[in-house]
Amino acid sequence: MPVLNIKKFSFTYPGVDHPSLKNINLPIKKNKITALIGPSGCGKSTLLRSMNRIHDLYPGNKYEGKIEFTDENKQISDILDIKKENEFIELRQKIGMIFQKPTPFPMSIFDNVAYGLKIAGVKNKTELADRVEVALKGSALWKEVHDRLNKSAMGLSGGQQQRLCIARAVAVKPEVLLFDEPTSALDPISTGAIEELIVELKKDVSIAIVTHNMQQASRISDYTAFMYLGDLVEYDKTENIFLNPKEKKTEDYITGRFG
Amino acid sequence: MEKIFQKLSLSSASLVFVLLIGIFITLYTAAKPAIDEFGFDFVTNPDWNKEVSLNPTSLTDTVVDMEEDSLDGEIIDEDDMEIADEDDDAILDEDEDDMMLDDEDDAVTKTIYGGLVPIIGTLLTTLIALAFALPIAMGIAVFLAEIAPKNIANVVGIAIELLAAIPSIIFGMWGLYYFAPIISDLFGGYQVSLLTAGLVLGVMVLPFMAAITRDSMNTTPNVLKESAYALGATKFEVIKDIIFPFSKVGIIGSIILALGRALGETMAVAFLIGSIFVLPQKITDPTISIPVAMANNFGEASGLGESALFYLALILFIISFAIISIAKFYFLKKAN
């Protein structure tokens, strides 16, 4: 049973005639890493950003089809049905997101990680401290920052900031994490650390990751979806996609003939 | 909570709209008696606070020999701002008399107000200010954007912006006591005049104009400049042939914006223009501008006189609204 099941999904940006995503069918499997790859403009980020409806920050988007979300209690709901503010909040607490550039909030390291918990209603100080520590340990950042939790998060390096953002997302115990090219702004060493971390995280959460880096997709993902011009061209186990793709387009892209 | 916050911010934003409309309506309403009385002739009539007798038979207004008196009165008002209470009463009485006489339809005199002098004064001081400030401001902008090394440009830039931060009343005082005497020695004429007021106004808008012109120039992409230098162009040629054409629209917008500022400036001009309702014959003659007419006469005015001042305010508001709109929405928008 996939945790997210995208069915006949189309998406149109406001003021545009043609849909940016056309009739997408894609499962995001539980405790697996699904990579979305494809040339820029193929709609992979658009698809990822539909999964937590972050698009809805800007009005006028058109959705068609279904994105079924199966939560830990096996309750199935269609993400696209959500209309109320509180339902959005609930959804986003269950489906977290990590962005291309690190997005540390302008506050201390501790407050950054605690922020999601606080707005989710956790008030107890010791519980906050415990969960922050767990999240930071889980993101392999604890050792580096445990002695300066009250310092501004802006002082961290880019790679540390990104791990902090992952800790922040993990702290609220989401069921799904969406990564939108999380390493594209980082150096190779930080990238390696983040990749290890993502693989580590799939024990607890299901992961979808957009990447422009095919090696990254092949290194860390279990499943890969190749997208092109708003269509889902091919979806399969990662080794199949990279070793014997069924579609010509996929092969061309994988072998670097375009993109 | 979300809703409340959103509503609050929306109403604050709408306040701007309400204020601007409110200013316009208020000025219009307050100016209405004067608009009804004088119509558009107000703009071309040079007489302010003048008694004219109404000749019922010929309908032509015969000027009562009041000009001298009212002028003297004006000047006394200036000097005795604090103890103008009696004058106040006198003017009040006068106005009331007029009204009563008007009502009885056998009026012999009435007071007329025309806005030509302050309108001309405003335009001329602004023109002089611009003529003076423009070349210097352009020079400063070029210096800051292109010539000075970064650290010097920073320091000079801050100094110029500090000059812009000095309250306008300081410019007025300094202008009156230190700048004007030099100017009147050089050019003759009065120390309080169109010329001195315009020049001090020029000094005042100078930093503002320089700062926004520099910002416009800074929008020129470096690659463009570099490719011109790579062809062997001199700095002057790069500035003339690349930077000016590229940022032309923005620079014009900046100049017009400075013009809008100058039009509405009160205090720097108030010290220096002389504040008399007389058309200047020479550039070194004293006269008055709209903001100064308001600043110096509002307290004592009532009735039709006050309404005429609001009429002037309305004219000033509309002119500056138009000029600023043109600068911001035509030139500066286009520049970006």
Binding site: L57, I119, C165 | T234, E237
Partner: protein, 267 residues
């Protein structure tokens, strides 16, 4: 020949900068000499009626402070609306109108407040003066807030939303915090501007020779009194005006510079 023209042109430009600096120096030196010449600490102890400036300085601060209390929240809320909530037309219109209002002649705003506050309440008052200054301040605060919020990266808002925070929470906890330094600088510059304003106060607060905290009557204003004093024939009054101008300018420049200093330090 080309090089000669180039040289002449560049020298003219440097000359312009020198002229600009010369004016600044001239004004500051004048203020310093004249102002310091008439300056003594007694000015801070006595009110205008006893030849001091105490009531005027306090009055000016109260007027500008009250204007800030009115103007800053309104301006920030409006700026937040334009940048965060406003979609399309309306927000753009408000932004444009606020831009225009920023350059509206201050004397006209004085006349407006005179008509809508002074006349209905029966006389000049501290409140009327503060309202006039607040109207001057609001568009500046809107502009700053709008600009500074626009510099906050979109991802930061999305990251907040993606954590399940509601929009106003994201704005208050994250976006405003991220833009704090810039907004504070803008507000300080706006404060420096209104505290030196004269024209909007002339017929709203007027001024008073006495110490007063009563905002419902004519209120002591440093700038308005400078204008009155400078036009009086007695040498002593004018000296007092110079001393007052000196204090005013020092205040304005300190506030202005500290605003710039905050930004610089943070960078």
């Amino acid at each position: 020949m080309r090089l000669l023209i180039n040289k002449i042109f560049l020298s003219l430009s440097v000359l312009s900068a020198l002229i600009g600096l010369a004016f600044l120096a001239w004004i500051l030196i004048t203020l310093f000499i004249k102002g310091l010449g008439s300056f003594h600490f007694g000015l801070f102890l006595n009110d205008l009626i006893d030849g001091g400036l105490r009531n005027l300085i306090i009055g000016q601060f109260i007027l500008a402070g009250l204007a800030s209390i009115i103007g800053i929240p309104l301006g920030m809320a409006a700026g937040i609306y334009i940048q965060e909530y406003g979609q399309g037309r309306y927000a753009n219109i408000i932004r444009d109108l606020s831009d225009i209002m920023m350059s509206a002649p201050s004397i006209v705003i004085g006349a407006f407040v005179y008509a809508v506050v002074v006349v209905p309440t029966g006389g000049t008052s501290g409140f009327a003066g503060a309202i006039a200054l607040a109207i001057m301040m609001i568009p500046v605060v809107i502009n700053t807030t709008d600009n500074m919020l626009s510099l906050v990266p979109r991802e930061l808002r999305e990251a907040g939303i993606a954590l399940g925070a509601s929009k106003y929470k994201v704005i208050i906890d994250i976006v405003i915090k991220a833009a704090k330094v810039g907004i504070m600088t803008g507000i300080l510059l706006a404060f420096a501007r209104i505290i030196g304003e004269t024209a909007p106060l002339l017929f709203t607060s007027e001024t008073s020779n006495y110490f007063s905290l009563n905002l419902t009557e004519s209120f002591p204003s440093l700038t308005v009194s400078i204008y009155d004093l400078a036009n009086e024939p007695e040498e002593a009054s004018r000296d007092l005006a110079w001393a007052a101008s000196f204090i005013l300018t020092v205040l304005v420049l300190i506030i202005n510079l500290s605003g710039r200093f905050i930004t610089r330090n943070k960078k």
